[in-house]
Amino acid sequence: MALLTVNDVSLGYDGRAIAEHLSFTVEKGDYLCIVGENGSGKTTLMKTLLNLKKPLAGEIITGDDLKPGEIGYLPQQTEVQRDFPASVMEVVLSGCLSRMGNRVFYSREEKQLAVENMKRMGILDRADQCYRELSGGQQQRVLLARALCATQKVLLLDEPVAGLDPKVTADMYRLIQSLNKEGITIIMVSHDVAAALQYAKHILHVGNRVFFGTREEYSSSKLGRLFLEQEGGEA
């Protein structure tokens, strides 16, 4: 059974649909890239997959080995986080909450997990630094480490490279790819179609017209070529 099965789902707010009839599946170990124009509903789709909001129609079925709360999430940054007094360690540890059950404090293993994930993201030496004093790229790594504390199975990334310079962006993609190689399923929203085509196994295009298929199918499809040209023209 697939990890995630999305069946004829419509997305929207207050009964108004913004994307309709989405159907796709995500297998274990998959790398899915979601592309589409601004406002086409990518973030909304993410939120629906995360159960933060309900779909207007259709259903989302999670595979039997994926429990709710076993998904890691890297959000598009929110206002509040920007001036929040919290150390990197505190932020990363908060990813362990779903493991905590009814306990009141973090266990030694959970702290160890946080340390390991900071090491993995190359931010261990900043553990005691203030989150808001980090650069955008470093903050993304912190949030990614937090997401990794929450899951070993699926990561949902909403524009993980927005606002990063080309070098850090490349690092970030490499990092994500290595996580995928370790067996973590990746679902990523990106505007960077070129990168999506380079790394992803499947592509979902949302917008006026919907496409779902492998990256090879996408780059040879009419929609894919059109979108690639447009994006290429803009850059």
Binding site: L50, P68, Q81, P85, A86, M100, V104
Partner: protein, 278 residues
């Protein structure tokens, strides 16, 4: 010093110290998440809601008006804090809407009853109805029990409150029931505010929520340290404020606020100096 020792022998002075310090402690702990969630003015807003409820209780001639005030204020707090990150009306606007509406309706309803001393009643909600220096033993015990309850809840849910405050969507995505924790925060906020409003007035409660948190944020960049420091800050300010007001004969509430403002100025300067030195 002799004079102080002499005063401390009076039970009302000890009561005032206990109640003042405990309320300051609880509000400062709540203050950190409230300020960070942009709900600094919730103290003001809720006290207006409580005022509205009090007006209704007066008109209905209820014998124990707490029975009405407490639930209404809790509902107000829930309505305000529910707005959170995922709604269209933001925190500051919803607080303003609810508090202004409650104030207006309360005042309107009050005009239907023949209460002679309207201005006086408005004044007591701002500065406290029972003066902190005339507390009864029962008041003190109620306050101690409530404070211990708040402290225990706060420690038990410390990490979860952090997670909900820092990133509600992430907490929810990883399976946490954030509604439950928002509700919890709303309820203890309402309880503390109603308690404190009766004892020290709503003017003071707002100061007690805001000043410790923002002072701590001048100096520390770590959630745990900010929490601990704001608790210490609040306790010291409340304690010295009450002592000063007794010795100097100044109004208690305003003196505590004054001390808070001064201490904030000190923290702010230290933060600035450190910023330029580094």
């Amino acid at each position: 010093m002799d004079k102080l020792a002499e005063y401390l022998q009076y039970p009302f002075v000890r009561y005032a110290l206990i109640v003042g310090v405990l309320i300051a402690l609880c509000s400062s702990l709540l203050g950190v998440p409230l300020v960070l969630k942009r709900f600094s003015f919730i103290g003001d807003g809720l006290s207006h809601v409580a005022f509205g409820a009090m007006c209704i209780a007066t008109v209905l001639k209820l014998s124990n008006n707490m029975l009405l005030i407490m639930p209404v204020t809790i509902i107000g707090a829930v309505l305000i804090l529910r707005t959170g990150t995922n709604t269209k009306i933001k925190g500051d606007a919803i607080i303003a809407m609810i508090s202004v509406a409650a104030l207006a309706f309360g005042y309107l309803i009050m005009n239907f009853s023949n209460t002679p001393n309207l201005a006086g009643d408005v004044c007591t909600t701002l500065f406290g109805s029972t003066s902190i220096l005339t507390l009864s033993r029962a008041d003190v015990w109620l306050c101690i029990i409530m404070s211990v309850l708040v402290l225990v809840i706060f420690v038990l849910f410390y990490h979860r409150i952090f997670a909900v405050t820092f990133d509600e969507n992430f907490a929810r995505a990883t399976g946490m029931d954030t509604e439950k924790y928002n509700l919890l925060i709303a309820i203890i906020t309402a309880v503390i505010i109603v308690l404190a409003m009766n004892l020290v007035g709503s003017l003071l409660i707002s100061a007690l929520i805001i000043f410790p948190a923002i002072s701590a944020m001048r100096l520390f960049h770590n959630y745990f340290k900010v929490t601990v420091f704001s608790a210490i800050f609040a306790v010291i300010c409340a304690f010295s404020g009450i002592i000063i007001s007794i010795l100097a004969g100044t109004p208690v509430g305003s003196t505590i606020v004054g001390v808070n403002v001064l201490a904030f100025a000190v923290c702010w300067s230290i933060g600035k100096l450190r910023g330029t030195a580094a």
